[in-house]
Amino acid sequence: MNNNFFKHKIGIETHIRLNTKNKLFCSCENNTTDAAIINENICAICTGTPGILPNLNLECVDMGIKLSSALNCDIPKILCFDRKHYDFPDMGKMRQTTTESTPLGKNGGLQLSEVIVTFEKLALEEDAAQTIKTACSFTINDNRAGSPLMEITTSPCFSTSNQVIEYLKVLKNLCGALKIVDTSNSSSVRSDINISVQYIINKEIIQGERVEIKNMNSLSGIKQALAFEFARHEQLLLENKIILRETLGWNATDGKTYFMRSKEEENDYLFIPEYDIAPINIEHRIISQDNPFNFFFKIKELEQLDEDRLNRLFDLLSILDFNIFIFETDISKIKFLIDIFSIEFLQNKINVKQANLIFELFKQKKTDLKQIKKNMHDLNESFDLFMFNIEIKFINLELIKEFIMKIKTEHKDETKDFLLKIIVQHFAKILPNQKINFTEVLQILN
C-alpha cells in the first residue's frame, strides 16, 4: 500500500441574499434582481451619509432565526451587531455591520449522504455595493448595498467536490422551502471556498497553506475550480514549494484561478461593537414568529386532526427536536413523516413504542428509509405491512384526486402551494415505478 497520499480539506462560506421586502437597515426596496439603473434604489442610510443612523429591519432577523433553527444551530438570546472595518470603497460607511460576536446560529449540523456538515456560525450582515470597473472609470453602484445576507460558515468538513455540491444543492432547496431566498436568481447564493491540502509521507504530515476562492455561484464552476486548485497544490507540495495564503478568483473562460489579494489577518478587520444598534432580544421573537414548529403545524393540517388526537401527537412530539421537520430536505422523507404522524399513528396502526423508536432514529439523524425499515422489522414483523401501506397509498388515481381537491379547498395560498409542491415531487419519484402516467397527475393538479 502506498504510504504517501494527499488529504483534501474544504470549508465553505456561503452568502445567501434574503428576499426581504426592505434592506437590512433602511426602507429601500431589497431588489433581489439588480435594478438596471445605477444608484436608483438608494437612500442616506445605505450610502453611509454622515449623521444618519441605521434602523434594523426585524424581518431579516426572523428569516435568520428560521434558517438557523433549520440547520440545527444554537440561537443566542440577545443579538448584538459589530463593525467590521476595511478599506475597500464598496461600503459607504467604510465598514460592514455584521453579527460577528453573537452569530444568529452556532454549532449546527446537517446530515448528507456522505458527510455530516458542521456549521461554525451563521451571521447576519449587509451586502456591499457593486463596483463596476472599466479601463478609464470606476463606478460604485449602491443599489444592492445594505441588502441582508446570511453568511453560513462550515467547518472544513468536506473532502470532495461532490460533497460540496450536494451540500450547496440541499442548502438552496432548504432556503427555497423556507421561502427566505429568491431561488430563481442565480446570484442569490454565492460561496467562498477555503481549501487546503495535506501531504502525508510515511505518516508524517506536511500541511499546505489555506487559500480562498471568492464569489463562486455556479456548481460546475466550483467543481472545476476545486479540481484545478487541488492539482496545483499537489504539484507545489510534490515540488516542495511554498503555497501562499491568498485570496483567488475563478476565471470560467480560462478554467483557471487568478490572484486577487493576499489574505488579510482576521485582526485587520478591527472588530468593535456597533453601538448605533441596540441589542435585540430574540428569545421572545422565536416564540411569536413563524418558526419550524408552526411550519410543521401547517403540514399537519393536512388531515384535519381533532383536538384529542392532536394532543396525543404533541405529547409524542415533545420528545423530539422540532427542527427535524425542516431539517429534512428530501421531500420523500417529509412525506414519510407526514404519513407516519398524521395517518398511521392516528389510525392506531402503530403503537407508541414503535413511534418512539422512529423518533429516536430521526433524532440520531439516521433518516434513511431502508434503515428504519430494517430496524423496525427486527422489532415487529407487522412493520413491513405498515411500510407497504404508506407506499401504495397514492397509487389509486381516484385517491390522489380526492386528496388534491381537499388540499385545494381547505388550505390557503401558501400552505396549498407548499403541499402541492410536495405531492408533485413525491409523485415524480414514486409514480414511474408504479407505471402511472405522470402527465395525468399533473392535469389533475392544474
Binding site: A44, P50, L56, P89, D268, I272, D276
Partner: protein
C-alpha cells in the same frame, strides 16, 4: 465682526433664534464639522431630528458655530478655523468642543445653543463661559442628524443663560425617536430623595485650584442645609474619576476611528481632471487636523497591537455603570466641580496636562450614559450628575438649588 466663532449666519435678529454646532445637520447648509474634509462639500438633505422638533415649536436656528474638528478636543480649536477666544478676555479660551455656541449665547446672539457632547463638550465651554449647560442621558434625545464621533458616548446637549430656558428646551427635544434604535423613554415624573453624593475633600483638593476648592466647600456647606450629603470613599474617586478618564480616552478614540473611517476622501470629494494622481491624493486624503490625526493613530495602535486594553476598557465601563447605578439607588445625584479652575489662557491650553485635566470631572458621566448639568454657583462652576433616565429629576434639583441661592 469677529468671526472666530460663527461659520454661517442663517437669520439675523430673530427673537427665537438658537445657535447650532457645526456637527448637527441642517438641511441644505454646509455641515463641515470644522474639518477640511467636509468644508464646502457636505450639504445634508435633511434636518436633524432635534432641529425638526425645535422648528415645530417656532424656534429657528440663526447661526452655525465653530467647534473642535469633529468635536474632538476640549479647547475649541480646529486646524481649519483656528481657536475661539473668550468674549470677555481674549487671552483666554472658550473651551470645547462646543465653543462657538457658548460664545454666541454669552454675547446674547442666540437664546440658547444646541451642541453635542461626547465627554463633556457642552459642560466644559459652558463652565468657562459661565452658562448653564445640560447634557441629557444617552438616548434621551434623538441622535439622528448628529455627525457621530463616538456612537456609544455622543449625545445632543444645550447651553443657555437661564435654567428656565434649559428646562423649556428639555421639554421639547427629550423625546423618543423610532429612527434611533438607542433612543429610550425618559420618565417625566420626579422622585426626590434629598440625598446627594460628593467626593472626599482631600481627593478633590489635589486637583482643584485653591480658589475653586474654597468656593466649592462653601457651596457644599450651603447644600447640606437642605440635602443629606454623603461622602464617597477614596477608592470611589479612583474608580469614577481617575480610571474613567483613561478608559474614556481609549473608548472614544477607537469609536472615533470607526466613525471617521468613512471620511477617507473616496466619497464626499470631487476629483479635478487637471490634477495629477499624487496631487489628487494630497488634496483628498489624509487631511484631518492634528487633534483628529493623533486620536486616529492612537486608536489604530490600540486596536491592532493591544486589543486586550480596549476589551478591558469596555468591561470596566460596564462595571462602572453598574456600580454607579447601585450608588445612586438611594441618592439623587453626584455633586462635583466641573473644572479645576475658572479660566484657561491660550498659552495654558497648549500644554498637554491642561488638556488631560479639562475633562477629568466630566467624561465619566458619558461613560455611564448619565445626565449632567453645569451650574454657575458662587462664582465657580459646579455640576450635578445623575444616572440614565433621571433627566427631569436632575433639572428639578438644579432649579431648586439655583432658586435657593438667589433668595439668599
Amino acid at each position: 465682526m469677529n468671526k472666530d466663532y460663527i461659520s454661517i449666519i442663517l437669520k439675523n435678529d430673530f427673537p427665537q433664534g438658537f445657535a447650532v454646532k457645526s456637527n448637527i445637520c441642517l438641511k441644505n447648509q454646509n455641515i463641515h464639522c470644522n474639518s477640511k474634509i467636509l468644508f464646502e462639500k457636505f450639504f445634508p438633505q435633511f434636518n436633524a431630528k432635534v432641529i425638526e422638533l425645535l422648528l415645530a415649536k417656532q424656534f429657528q436656528p440663526n447661526m452655525i458655530c465653530h467647534a473642535d474638528e469633529f468635536a474632538m478636543g476640549g479647547i475649541g480649536y480646529s486646524d481649519l478655523h483656528g481657536i475661539t477666544l473668550h468674549p470677555e478676555n481674549s487671552n483666554n479660551i472658550v473651551g470645547g468642543s462646543s465653543s462657538g455656541i457658548c460664545k454666541a449665547v454669552w454675547k446674547n446672539e442666540a437664546i440658547f445653543g444646541l451642541g453635542s457632547s461626547t465627554g463633556g463638550s457642552i459642560r466644559i465651554p459652558g463652565a468657562l463661559c459661565n452658562l448653564f449647560a445640560f447634557e441629557p442621558s444617552y438616548g434621551a434625545c434623538s441622535r439622528v442628524g448628529l455627525v457621530s464621533f463616538a456612537s456609544s458616548l455622543d449625545k445632543v446637549g444645550w447651553v443657555a443663560k437661564k435654567i428656565e430656558t434649559i428646562i423649556d428646551v428639555a421639554n421639547i427635544i427629550i423625546q423618543t425617536d423610532c429612527n434611533d434604535m438607542t433612543s429610550i423613554e425618559i420618565s417625566r415624573s420626579i422622585t426626590l430623595k434629598n440625598k446627594i453624593l460628593v467626593f472626599a475633600d482631600e481627593d478633590l483638593q489635589k486637583y482643584l485650584n485653591i480658589e475653586v476648592f474654597a468656593k466649592y466647600l462653601e457651596i457644599k456647606k450651603e447644600l447640606s442645609k437642605n440635602y443629606q450629603i454623603t461622602t464617597l470613599t477614596h477608592q470611589d474617586f479612583k474608580t469614577i474619576i481617575l480610571t474613567s478618564s483613561t478608559n474614556y480616552f481609549i473608548l472614544s478614540s477607537v469609536e472615533a476611528m470607526s466613525s471617521l473611517q468613512r471620511f477617507n476622501g473616496l466619497r464626499l470629494n470631487q476629483s479635478n481632471p487637471e490634477q495629477t494622481f499624487s496631487q489628487c491624493l494630497e488634496e483628498t486624503r489624509n487631511i484631518f487636523g492634528s487633534q483628529v490625526t493623533e486620536r486616529l493613530a492612537f486608536a489604530k495602535k490600540i486596536l491592532k497591537k493591544y486589543p486586550n486594553i480596549y476589551a478591558q476598557a469596555i468591561q470596566d465601563r460596564t462595571l462602572l455603570k453598574e456600580y454607579i447605578s447601585t450608588l445612586l439607588e438611594n441618592a439623587d445625584g453626584v455633586f462635583l466641580p466641573t473644572l479645576f479652575k475658572n479660566s484657561i489662557s491660550v498659552l495654558e491650553s497648549e500644554i498637554q496636562e491642561t488638556n488631560l485635566k479639562l475633562d477629568m470631572f466630566s467624561s465619566w458621566v458619558n461613560l455611564i450614559h448619565g445626565c449632567a448639568i453645569n451650574m454657575p454657583l458662587n462664582s465657580i462652576q459646579v455640576q450635578l450628575t445623575g444616572k440614565q433616565g433621571q433627566d427631569f429629576t436632575i433639572l428639578q434639583i438644579a432649579s431648586d438649588i439655583i432658586s435657593k441661592y438667589k433668595n439668599e
